[in-house]
């Protein structure tokens, strides 16, 4: 199983320039979405049929805090002028949507929040998601951001 990770504190802009470089929407994303987006790039860069629409791959995000780091940014913007571009990232499943948009994945996407990293529980949930009749594999990520500069971020692909 291919497993990728991004070390806490990594310069994400530099990593984006190295891995992608031509997807300016990246700069609008919150840290959670940037991490998920880059993890997915690392996982699927060599896919032969990349960027063709597919319904058979799920994107499943697991986290403890979800998008709370960005929620704080939005809450601060409320004191002045509420920012729509921050508000749209105040949901933990948005990162799965970003990965789906980038890669044209029209399958299942979702976010599950757990009390902490629990690999057996994640594996159990992924296995349950595989009850979908079309899903054949899943990008699974554990991303947790206590702040915008520290995180744990790892992802892997599981086949049914």
């Amino acid at each position: 199983m291919k497993m990728v990770s991004i070390a806490s504190g990594t310069d994400l802009t530099a990593l984006y320039r190295k891995l992608v470089g031509n997807y300016p929407k990246f700069f609008k994303m919150d840290t959670l979405s940037k991490l998920g987006f880059l993890l997915a790039e690392m996982l699927v860069a060599d896919d032969s049929d990349r960027f063709t629409e597919r319904e058979d791959r799920a994107v499943l995000i697991f986290s403890r805090r979800g998008c709370l780091a960005n929620d704080l940014n939005y809450a601060k913007s409320m004191e002045d002028f509420p920012s729509p571009s921050l508000f749209v990232y105040t949901l933990p499943n948005t990162v799965a949507g970003e990965i789906a948009i980038r890669n044209k994945y029209q399958g299942e996407t979702g976010a599950f929040l757990l009390e902490g990293y629990d690999r057996p529980q994640i594996d159990e949930i992924v296995h349950q998601v595989f009850q979908d009749r079309i899903t054949r594999d899943a990008i699974v990520a554990w991303i947790d951001c206590p702040s915008e500069t520290e995180w744990t971020a790892q992802a892997w692909i599981v086949s049914k």
Partner: protein, 343 residues
Amino acid sequence: MTKVFSIGTGLVTPLGSTVTSVLEAIREGRSKQYFSRNGFTGHSFFENIALEAAQKAISGIEITPKTGFILSTAKGNVEFIGREDISLALSARRIADALGVKTTPIVVSNACISGVAAMLQGMRMIRSGAFDKVIVVGAEVQSPFIETGFDCLKAISPEPCRPFDKDRQGLNLGEAAAAMVLCADEGPWEIVDGVIRNDANHISGPSRTGEGSFKCLRYVLESLAKEDRLSFVSVHGTATPYNDEMEAIALDRAGLSHVPVCALKGYFGHTMGAAGLVEVIVCMGAHDMGFIPASKGFGELGVSRPVNISAQERPASGNAIIKLLSGFGGVNGALLLRKGGSL
């Protein structure tokens, strides 16, 4: 495949806190989106209503060591942001502990389809064989965090929302909690099938072709048996211009433009993480009493495809319901429900 049934439900809404009283309010055409917090002295109103709904749903049902727990919410305790750790998993743990659940709780936070996603996850947990019951609770309360957010996206209607109407101006936000207990034995309603699909199009706007919702409808329709008759589709119907148009296209593409639909946001507002559970429970209850709820706020059709929607209550004549939802992040979800027993 293991059949999964709803064996208990609970509602806590500003319109009423029993299925009967909420259905009565709907038949009288009343609407109310926000709770009064007068007299509430606890800490988290969100956790309080979630627990109350769950307690109603499990009334008379034994919690075993193999009973699972799922919390469905978009923003949980966000009103306390910056003041305490508002991680949703902490809320789930406190509610599950108060109920006496022994398994590890999980939170499904999938924007406005969270409720459908959570019931689907509960169905899958039962089918996996690892759980004998699953308590699914959906709850949402409102606060300036959410209100200013939808306001700055220009999604809020200045008037009571008007799903599918030509003069619709957006959504009303709402608060509610609802819970359902799933198990594999027998029950008045079967959760037959469910699905989630992404539009892969935009994080805060629906697909213009209704792609994800169409795929969801197509998927659950595969599980409609020959002898089944679809009574109605409970649409998302937020009353934003784009959502309702998208749903009309998806229904038409799925060959369902003739099937009655009902939109319930005119009664409750958009209760986000609670919406899927609230609307499913209301639809099951209405169907049991033989009617399709009127779509409050609807007047004249304002979408580009035909939709069989009505401002009047209609008789329900079938045995199955489809629940449809869509949300930010490009997500769409659908559930197929079948009335238990013979047709």
